[in-house]
Structures are given as C-alpha cells and as structure tokens.
C-alpha cells in the first residue's frame, strides 16, 4: 500500500494534543463533555494506530511512515518518527489501552478536567516515545510520560498514594539520571553531532568498551521502568496507589517503555554490549520471574497480586531480550503486547470491584462470582491469560521466550518455568478466594457491571482472545524487525 507522505505518526500525536487542548478549553464543570472529548480523541488514536498496524507493508519491512525534519541544527536534533515491527505492536497496544482506560474512568467525578488533561499528556509522551527515532526526543517523551504520573497518583490514587507517587517518580527519574548521561555519552563519542538513532546505528561507530559501558547505563536506566529485579520495588507500590486508568496505562504501557527503550536504544546502538551483558540480563530476568511469583503468593491486596505478577511477567520479556535470538525477540515483543492488554484488563476489573466494594483486600471479598459475574469473568480471564493458558495471547509470548531461553540458558530457563508454576498457583488461589467460596453477605447488594461499562473490558478480552487464536497476526510484523536485527550482528 502506498501511503503518500501523509504524517500518520504525527497525526497520532496531534490527536492527543488536540484532545488535550479540547479538555483544557472546556470549563471544569462540564465533566461529561470532557469525558466525551477524551473518548473521541483517544478513539482516534486507536483507529490511527490500528490503521498503521494493518497498512504496514510486511513484505518490505524496515522503517515505514518515516517523517524526518531537522529540529535543532546546532545540536543535530531531528524530529524523526517512523514505525517498524517493534514499534507497531506497541503503538497498537497504547491505542487500545488508552481508549479502554478512558472508558474505564467514565464514572470519575473528582477533578475530572485535570485528570484527563494529565492523562492525555502522559499518553502523548508514550506514543511519542514509541514512534521516535531521535535520542533527544526519546528522552523528552520519556520524561513527558513520567511526570504527570506524580499528580495522577497523588491526587486520584488510594492506599498510601503520596508515598507511592513520590517513590515511583523518584525511582523512574533516577532511571532517567542514567539514561541521559548514556545518551550524551554515545552522541559525543560518535562525534557526528547528531541525535538521530539511524545515523548512530552504523556498525563500528563505538568501541566495545563504550558499548558495554553505555549498555549497562541504559539497561539499568530503562530497566528500572521495565520493573527489572532488583529495581522493581516502585512498581507494585505505584500500581496499588494509582487510580484504575493510571494503573492500566502504567502496567500496560509504561513498563513497556522500559523494555522498549532497552530494545530500541541499548540493543540497537550497543549490540556488542548486549551480547556481553546478556548472561547477567538473563540472570536478573530469571530471578525476577521467580521472585515476583513467590512474593505474589503472600499478597492480600488484589492490586499487589497483579503488581507482583507484572514483575514476574516483565521478567519474561527481559529473558526473551537476553537470549540474543530471533525467537527471543519475537517472544519478548509479543509478551510485551500480551502482558499490556492482560494487565489493563486486570486493573480495569479490579477498578470496578474496588469502586463498588471499596476494598481490594482478598479476605474481605469472596464469592464475588455470584454477586457480579461479569466483573469476575473479566478478572478470571485475565488471570488465565497470566498463567499462560493456551488460546490466550500471553501463552504464545511465554512459550516462544521459554523455548529460546532453553536453548540459550538451560538452567535459568528451568528456574523461570518453575516461576510460572508458582504464578499459576497464586493466581488460582486468588481467583478461588475472591470469586468462589461463600459470598460475603455485606457485598450481596452490589450490582454487576452495566453493559456500557463492560465495553472497555470486552474490547480488552477480545484482543486477548484474538491474538491468542491468531498469534501470527503479531508475529509476522515483529519478525520484520527482529530478523534484520539479529542478522546484522557480528558473530
């Protein structure tokens, strides 16, 4: 398909910014209008990202929909956007989670205008990061997507919200404290006076030592956001404190920024550093998988359960990246997508349960399946996806990653799979305690999810099932990026 020169990627950003502008123009009292505007513009971003996903020429591969303008001549900064097999699934994921998160927050009443304005700002940063190919802009988008987080959690959150917000913000900006020096280091060492990623990707530009150093800084910096053990501690606390939509975007998309950053910057620019550190990466990932699952076993708060399972699942992404193989990359990116949709569904259903019951404590719930069967069904579906039940999206990501990991690191692979077994155990325990057993009489009067409120959850569930049944829809696209990347490595 020929796509003229129309700046599709920029239009996604413009849709976010127009939405933001629209929200800011409306008076704070017109909450419903603000929500409608939000839904409209987030819907536009979803449609656009879906369109790009479909329109991407899989035969041709490589970077498509390229937009490149010189931005700051003195520093060699380009406004350079493009999409490839790695970024398209992420853009689609962002579109899906964004739209459904806006719908999930339909019942919000407290400071509606500010919430949606900050939320749009956050998502603009996320979209920008996934499509940008300029180190300066990647860093800018990274921070744009982080700092609205502080207010979003601290104002609209629950459970120790101010502590959670502060911890999260400081941790993630500590990550950026490593990323920025690494970026400047690479740019200066290359000596090309350019921040353009494609220009810096030429092989032989950096010495092995520089690659190892920069990779380490970038890996830890982005790894903090990706929830890599032992830098994950902000993540469960932040998830628990955050309001529903923010948890969704946060666990669903923002943590992916971390692994995507490792992939896009660290791995693309420092392939030798990647190979050098892969053993250590695999070790951290395996520990993260097992650790997340074990700690998850002991949790009593639904959101903490999902928070720790995220640590475990993001460990799988890390393990995939660490294998330095096509399968590993495919699996990792697939898992990023699948985990994003799955956690969004998790938090979306927990959000509904919490709104109605005002508790997230597993002990205080119980038998919810009889009181609110629909809300329960969504949670249970997400839990099954999390365990890796076949025909649901996560299954494929986990399968491929573990296959690749077995080949590369048999011991760590086995350890990681044992983590999966533990996570199945704790997920089933949570499902059993929360949704089955005798219903809590105090909750008996509660109503089930209305059809309108089910819409976002249905979308998420459908996506999980769709990509579970037809994984090649996604793999075909990812493949176009992972094959050339691995092919370009010097053995």
């Amino acid at each position: 398909m020929i796509l003229g020169g129309f700046p599709y990627l920029t239009s996604i950003l413009m849709a976010c910014l127009l939405g933001l502008g629209g929200i800011l123009m409306l008076p704070a009292e017109r909450a419903l209008a603000i929500k409608k505007v939000s839904a409209l513009f987030s819907g536009i971003t979803l449609v656009l990202s879906l369109f790009l996903f479909v329109a991407y020429d899989r035969e041709l591969g490589g970077m498509q929909f390229v937009e490149k303008y010189l931005w700051v001549e003195a520093l060699g900064i380009y406004y350079h956007n493009a999409a490839d097999g790695f970024s398209l699934p992420m853009l689609l994921l962002t579109g899906i989670v964004f739209f459904t998160a806006v719908l999930t927050m339909w019942e919000l009443e407290h400071r509606v205008k500010e919430f949606f304005a900050l939320f749009f700002l956050l998502v603009t940063g996320v979209f920008g990061l996934f499509m940008s190919l300029d180190l300066f802009f990647i860093f800018v988008w990274y921070d744009v997507s982080l700092f609205p987080m502080y207010l979003l959690i601290a104002v609209w959150g629950s459970t120790r919200k101010e502590y959670g917000a502060m911890k999260l913000t400081l941790y993630l900006l500590a990550g950026s404290a490593l990323i920025l020096p690494a970026i400047i280091f690479l740019v200066v060492k290359a000596g090309l006076n350019t921040f353009d990623l494609t220009a810096l990707m030429q092989p032989g530009l950096f010495t092995p030592y520089e690659q190892k150093l920069a990779f380490l800084l970038l890996f830890i910096g982005f790894g903090i956001l990706a929830g890599v053990w032992p830098f994950h501690t902000w993540s469960p606390v932040g998830h628990v404190a955050a309001p529903t939509a923010v948890s969704m975007v946060h666990a669903g998309v923002l943590m992916k920024i971390g692994s995507f950053g490792i992939l896009r910057i660290a791995i693309y620019l420092c392939p030798e550093g990647w190979q050098y550190w892969s053993q250590a990466m695999a070790l951290l990932a395996a520990v993260g998988i097992v650790y997340g699952a074990l700690v998850g076993l002991g949790q009593t708060d639904l959101k903490y359960v999902v928070g720790y399972s995220s640590v475990s699942h993001m460990g799988i992404v890390g393990l995939g990246l660490a294998t330095v193989s096509v399968d590993g990359l495919n699996g990792a990116v697939f898992q990023m997508f699948a985990h994003g949709v799955m956690t969004a569904l998790f938090f979306s259903s927990i959000g509904y349960i919490y709104d109605k019951t005002h508790t997230k404590m597993i002990d205080e719930l119980g038998g919810l399946n009889r009181i609110m069967p629909k809300a329960s069904a969504f949670f249970i579906l997400a839990a099954f996806a999390g365990i890796g039940v076949p025909c649901l999206a996560s299954f494929w990501g986990e399968l491929i990653v573990f296959m690749a990991a077995f080949k590369a690191f048999p011991l760590r692979g086995i350890a990681a799979i044992s983590g999966l077994v533990i996570s199945a155990l704790f997920m089933l325990r949570v499902v059993q305690k929360t949704f089955y057993g005798p219903p809590n009489p105090k909750l008996a009067h509660l109503v089930d999810m209305s059809p309108a409120l089910s819409v976002p959850r249905v979308i998420l569930a459908a996506v999980i099932v769709l990509f579970g049944l037809f994984p090649s829809l996604l793999f075909d696209v990812i493949q176009t990026a992972s094959l050339p990347l691995i092919g370009g490595l010097t053995p």
Binding site: W71, V72, E73, A74, L75, E114, F136, F139, V140, D143, V144, F147, Y150, L151, A154, V155, E162, M166, T169, L170, L173, A174, S176, A177, L178, L180, P181, I184, F185, V187, V188
Partner: protein
C-alpha cells in the same frame, strides 16, 4: 572616544538619577514611581536590544563592548523589567523608601552591566563592589527592619570577606604576571598556570565571583538574604544578579585558556560540593524562599559544569543556562510574591489550595519547578543538556552522573512544592485569588518562553554560541 558605545550604561545612569531626584522631592506617590520605573525598565530593554550589535573598546581599553556583553546586558535589562513588573504592590518596602529602592535597583543593574563589560582588574573590582553595595542597602530596606538589617548585615559581612579575598587574589595575580588587563593575562597566564602562586591567585580571585554566584564555600549568605530581603529583591538577586556573576566568571576563566589541571579540578570540586550541599539542605526547608535559595546554590553548581569545560560549547551552555534560570526562578518568585500579598515570607504549606485559588499561577509554578528540576520539554532541560553535552566532550562522564543524581535528589523537594500547590488541602476554604490582566499576560509570556525555548531552542543556542565565541 565613541560615547555611543556607552549608550546603555548612560541610560541606566540617567534612570537612576531620575529616581534620585524623585526621592529628593519627597514624592511619595507609590503608583507614580511604579509607573515611572516600569516605563524606564521597559525602555531599557529596548535600548539594550538596540545596542546589541555594538562592538568596541572604551576607557583605555579597560571596558569592552561586544556581543557577549550586550547579550548579557539585554538579559539583565529583562531581569530588571520583570522584577519591576512585580513591584506594583511593593509591600515589603516602606512606602517612603520606594523611590530609593528603584534608584538602587537601577544603579545595581547599571553596576552589573559595567561588570559584564569589564576587561580590566580594577573595572571588574569596582563594578562588582558597586553592585554588591547597592544590594546590601536594598536588603536593609525591608519594612520589617529587624529581619532586613540582620540579613543585610550577614550579606555585607560575607561579601566584604569575599571581596577582600578577591582583592588579595588580584594583587597576587598582578605580582605573578605584571598585568592588569584580561587581554594581557590571556597571553601571559597559560604558561604560568602550574605555578603555585598563580594557582592561588586565580582561586582567590574567583572567590569574589563565587560569592556573587552563591557557590560553596561562599553560599552561606544566600538563604538568609533571600528570606530577609523584600520578596521582589530576592527575585532580583536570584535572577539578574546570577546572570552578571555567570557572565564575569566566564570572562575571567576564559583567561586560563583551555587548561586542564588544577584550576579545572578545583572548579569540579566546587561544582560537586555546591550541587550536593544545595540540594541536600533544600530537602528540609519549609520556607519557600529559603528553599529557592538552596536550589540556587545547587544550580550554580550545574552552571559551573558548563564553565569548567572552558570550551565555547560549555560557555554557550552556561549562558543559555543563565537565561533559563532567569525565566524559571522568576516564575517561582512571581507566585511567591502574589501569594504573599502583604510582603511576608511564605511557607510551603501556605501554597495549599493554590490550584483552586489561582489555577494559572499553580500551573506556572508547576512548570517552573519542573523546569528547575530539568524535566523536558522545558527550558531547564535544554540548558542542562547543553551543559552536560559540553562537559561530556571533555570526558566528564562521572561528573555528569553525579550531577544527574543531584537532579534526582532535587526532584524530591521540587515535587514537595508541586504537592503543596496541588494536593495539600488548606484548613479553611481559601478565598479565590484574583489575578489581574497584566499579570495573566506576564504568566502566559513566561510559560510560553519556558516551553518554546525548551522545545525549539535553535535560535537562542545560536545566539549564545555567537556571543561566547568572542571570549576566545
């Protein structure tokens, strides 16, 4: 001699004289003096921009007009204009002293303009002292006499010590090189740099500028003076005065050429200690102005990172940083002054409910604070990027990592400000805070500048590069 080169300074001198006359006439019309000051300050900006292209030497070649000095003067003029804009309710100063206050403000700006153009030891010293003494007096003008006098005295004592040390350094420098012109020093100094006498001389000389910039170990005055001075004056010290200090520090360090070694090492130490001390102490501050003072100390450290590169890239980064500081710090002070409508000092808690009382001010404050923390897409980030980029070209990776961790530390207290403005609920329902039309315009202009120069800094970077190129 071409007096046309001296236009800007003459203008500010005349402006000061106007207020001297008004003061002698005992004109106590508060609005009249405010409007006069506003008019003169605005005219001053026009004059400065009009003289941007001038180039030449004056007064036995001890006074140099070049693009660098003119850009700094334009920045100073803008700083003065912004501060005067805030003086519409000059509650911190007793009404009968308003004319004197403006007179000293213009004189001080004049002194700083002289400073950024000075290329001779004596002119540097004289203009530095002139600017310091006017500031001492202005601090003492605070309506609350005890606070004002205490702060002024502290300022004065630290300042006198610093200037004595600096004078000693200048004397040693003269003893070592036998020259008093910076242009001669550029020639004579580099081969002598490793002699202990010259090292001591340079370090002692820099102390005078460290005092101005509030760099460790001459930073003790900053928190007390910020807290003790009238709010508008604190804003002035935090913005314009810093520009002058950064500018003259660049002129003087440029003399050392591209030397590595002792001078650079000591600047590295001073930069690291300043950032760390400033940021750590700021963590526990309750008074907003004291907090901003400690953040200034930390920012002086970041600026030094640019200066110690001793390269055109580093200097242009530092100059850009000066501009960024003016805009961001000024926005913070604008909020302080508007919230403290009776000229008192305010605590962080008193920002409570600001997002409802004045949403626009709260938003501007948040943006300025994020800018100070160096978060994109604000001008503060671009400034840091430029400075770090220059330092990396000299291979200071560790220094940059230390600086970035300082940024993370500083984020904590910057977030406390945001929290106070957006989260903390006030005890009683606060009255909405009316923001007048001109102030709204000013806030929009500041916010626009912070964002636009953050996202599209190209023109300013070019200007800073051209301006700093003349130093080499």
């Amino acid at each position: 001699m071409n007096w046309a080169l001296f236009n800007t300074e003459i203008f500010y001198f005349c402006a000061a004289v106007v207020f001297l006359v008004l003061a002698m006439l005992r004109q106590t019309g508060h609005r009249t003096s405010y409007h006069t000051a506003l008019f003169l300050a605005a005219l001053g900006v026009v004059v400065c921009i009009g003289t941007l292209h001038l180039d030449g030497l004056l007064f036995l070649e001890s006074y140099r007009i070049d693009l660098f000095s003119q850009v700094c003067k334009a920045l100073l003029a803008m700083g003065l204009l912004l501060v005067v804009c805030l003086c519409s309710e000059l509650e911190g100063v007793a009404a009968e002293w308003h004319n004197e206050f403006y007179m000293l403000l213009f004189t001080c700006t004049l002194a700083m303009m002289l400073l950024v153009s000075s290329v001779h030891m004596i002119t540097i010293y004289v203009s530095l002292e002139l600017s310091s003494y006017t500031l001492y007096v202005m601090v003492a003008l605070r309506r609350d006499k005890v606070t004002g006098t205490k702060a002024a005295l502290k300022y004065f004592l630290v300042g006198v010590v610093a200037s004595a040390v600096m004078l000693f350094g200048l004397a040693l420098l003269y003893a070592a090189c036998g020259a008093t012109y910076l242009t001669d020093l550029v020639r004579l100094l580099p081969p002598l740099l490793n002699r202990p006498l010259v090292m001591t001389a340079l370090l002692l000389t820099l102390c005078g500028f460290f005092f101005k910039l509030a760099v460790f170990p001459f930073h003790f005055w900053a928190p007390d003076v910020y807290a003790g001075a009238p709010n508008q004056l604190a804003a002035y010290i935090a913005t314009a005065s810093k520009v002058a200090a950064i500018a003259i520090l660049m002129r003087v360090t440029a003399v050392a050429g591209d030397a590595t070694g002792f001078l650079v090492d000591s600047l590295v130490v001073v930069a690291i200690v300043s950032m760390t001390v400033g940021n750590l102490v700021a963590l526990v501050q309750k008074d907003l102005k004291r907090l901003l003072a400690y953040s200034s100390i930390a920012h002086a450290g970041y600026v030094l990172i640019g200066i110690l590169s001793l390269t055109p890239a580093g200097y242009s980064g530092a100059l850009f940083y000066a501009l960024a500081l003016v805009v961001m710090k000024f926005t913070c002070f604008l909020v302080v002054i508007k919230v403290a409508d009776d000229g008192r000092n305010i605590d962080l808690d008193q920002l409570a409910g600001l997002h409802r009382r004045a949403p626009l001010l709260a938003m501007a404050l948040m943006l300025a604070v994020f800018g100070l923390a160096g978060i994109p897409p604000t001008v503060g980030f671009t400034a840091k990027l430029l400075v770090f980029n220059a330092a990396m070209q000299n291979g200071y990776l560790t220094l940059i990592l230390i600086a970035m961790f300082n940024v993370v530390i500083s984020l904590y207290y910057y977030l406390l400000i945001v929290k106070a403005a957006y989260l903390t609920e006030p005890a009683a329902e606060p009255a909405p805070m009316p923001v007048s039309g001109p102030v709204k315009g000013l806030v929009f202009a500041l916010v626009g500048t912070m964002l636009v120069t953050g996202i599209a800094p190209h023109y300013l970077i070019e200007l800073a590069r051209r301006a700093t190129r003349v130093l080499f």
